[in-house]
């Protein structure tokens, strides 16, 4: 009988070409996802603390010092509850919907550059990828609303779906203006692209539109009709309990962080120190990135504490009759101004 020879070269080759890259990718993913999930948990804490401070309350104080362990306690509580699947619900779709929502909110992070070169997939079409993933978020909601086999959940699902679809249009046009100034769909290039100050000024209205659309897209106040607790019964998630509910909830917070990250990458200069102050670059890039995300998230929370909820028809009017024409106009204006100043990307090379 032949002795089984252990072909070292062959296995080394397998290891080098397949296993090692796989391990590397898994390692990178863990490095990104674990801090993200912690950030998400503490975003719920931050939200309660910020709201409390703005309303002259204390917020969570009991669990741990300053209530710092509150997110953990909430998570444990949710885990310990019973998952109820309503009778007559479409089981598979019902369970699938929250998983899909949560997955999509994580998948998008693959292309976000956290610092110089710190990105899992530095693909050429990063912006399109982000747009594609964020346009899929509506499925989780539609599926949840439909599979619950409940009128309230179904109406809630339709309501949120219409809202998300409406604001996606203006987000798409905002992305187009940003692309006009950078000439690349790669997120790293968008961050590092040097923009003259007048281009930033030109982009400022788009920044405002983007932040407002992001609020609507993530179902945050003042557009939180999908879960308007005080005047509507819940929404698409009214039949969900325990972990299935938690996944929706967490997916929503993750989407908030994602939208803040998109704002940072597209408008606030990603990991670069603010205002291009060279002395500040001693602080590592990911710290600036996190700080900028935190700032945008604070604005999200601030809005929630400040503004009353929109009525549904006003929300639709804002999306279709104000943002859509305005962004469309601004795409043309930006293109025109850039063309007039010979500042379109690749133009000076052609001239």
């Amino acid at each position: 009988m032949d002795s089984i020879t252990f072909d070292t070269a062959f296995w080394l080759d397998i290891f080098n070409t397949y296993l090692w890259p796989l391990l590397l990718i898994v390692g990178k993913i863990l490095l990104l996802v674990v801090p993200l999930i912690v950030a998400m948990a503490y975003l719920t804490y931050a939200e309660r603390k910020v709201l409390a401070a703005m309303q002259l309350r204390q917020g969570p104080m009991m669990v741990g010092p300053f209530g710092l362990l509150q997110p953990l306690a909430d998570g444990l509580k949710l885990l310990g509850k019973e998952t109820i699947i309503p009778s007559g619900a479409n089981r598979f779709v019902f369970v699938m919907a929250p998983m899909l929502t949560f997955m999509l909110s994580l998948v998008a992070w693959a292309v976000i550059p956290v610092s110089d070169g710190w990105v899992i997939a530095n693909i050429n079409v990063g912006v399109l990828y982000l747009f594609a993933i964020s346009s899929l978020g509506v499925y989780g909601i539609l599926m949840a609303g439909w599979a619950s086999n409940s009128r309230y959940a179904f109406l809630g699902g339709l309501r949120s779906a219409a809202q998300m679809v409406s604001y996606e249009v203006s987000i798409g046009l905002v992305l187009v203006t940003v692309l006009l100034t950078t000439g690349s769909l790669n997120l790293t290039t968008i961050v590092t692209q040097e923009r003259p100050i007048w281009v930033d000024v030109l982009l400022f209205p788009m920044f405002v539109v983007f932040v407002i659309s992001a609020l609507a897209e993530t179902n945050r106040a003042p557009f939180d009709l999908p879960e308007g607790e005080s005047e509507l019964v819940g929404g698409y998630n009214v039949e969900y309990s325990s972990m299935t509910f938690a996944l929706f909830f967490l997916g929503e917070y993750m989407n908030m962080i994602l939208m803040a990250a998109m704002t940072t990458v597209l408008f606030l200069g990603g990991w670069l120190p603010p205002f291009g102050i060279a002395a500040l670059s001693v602080v590592p890039g990911f710290v600036w990135f996190a700080a900028k995300i935190s700032f945008v998230l604070f604005v999200f929370l601030w809005t929630r504490a400040t503004l009353p909820r929109y009525r549904y028809d006003q929300l639709m009017r804002l999306g279709w009759k104000i943002f859509l024409p305005f962004t469309l106009l601004w795409v043309v204006v930006t293109a025109g101004v850039l063309l007039y100043n010979h500042a379109l990307p690749g133009m000076s090379a052609a001239m």
């Binding site: 779709v93 594609a132 499925y139 599926m143 439909w146 779906a161």
Partner: protein, 204 residues
């Protein structure tokens, strides 16, 4: 090797979900299968190196078209048993049409080859992928060589959209709309009257 594995995974799931679209009993499941099929097609495009088309596929088909499908299908109130009743009656007609189509296609593709004029009209193939991203390559062809055709197809879509709106738009006299301008231009003196009332006298 790994490419082959991924290709077969995408291709198998694509074909299976395409079969699922036409065999699922519940139309909502059909649409969900359709979405899965779109996704796997996008995966195949990525494997071909056509990342732009893959993303557009997801954005346009999954993100927009299938959402509308799902909207419509979810709101349909269909009696499925009723629908399935005529199945056997209509099966021969369906089979006949299918057979005719198949015959036509076989006949056509057996004798089909692009004319020399068409071959000359084909724009230069996409340049080396390392030199230019395929978004740039597509843009350069679409906005130079085919700019008029591109604009015309855009106009056709616009006309279709306007047509759909004009066909379905109806003025409803009983709907009460918010008049924002009216609300903003409303002044207290127009709607409020401040009366000084001394005790013992009424307003009127």
């Amino acid at each position: 090797m790994i490419e082959a594995v991924f290709f077969y995974v995408f291709a198998t799931v694509l074909v299976l979900s395409a079969i699922g679209v036409i065999t699922a009993r519940n139309p909502v499941h059909s649409v969900l299968f359709l979405i899965l099929a779109f996704f796997n097609a996008a995966g195949l495009f990525v494997m071909l190196g056509a990342e732009f088309i893959a993303m557009i596929m997801v954005i346009v088909y999954v993100g927009a078209v299938a959402v509308l499908f799902l909207f419509v299908v979810m709101m349909l109130d269909i009696n499925f048993a009723e629908l399935r009743k005529g199945m056997m009656k209509h099966a021969p007609v369906g089979a006949l049409v299918g057979f005719a189509l198949l015959a036509e296609f076989t006949w056509m593709f057996k004798s089909w080859s692009p004319s020399s004029a068409a071959l000359n009209g084909v724009a230069q193939p996409i340049p080396d992928q390392a030199a230019i991203s395929n978004t740039h390559a597509l843009g350069e062809i679409l906005y130079t060589q085919y700019v008029y055709l591109f604009q015309i197809s855009g106009l056709i879509l616009l006309v279709a959209m306007v047509g759909a709106i004009t066909l379905t738009l109806r003025r409803r006299p009983d709907s009460r709309r918010q008049s924002v301008a009216g609300q903003i231009s409303r002044r207290p003196e127009d709607v409020l009257k401040v009366e000084k009332i001394t005790s013992g006298t009424g307003v009127f």
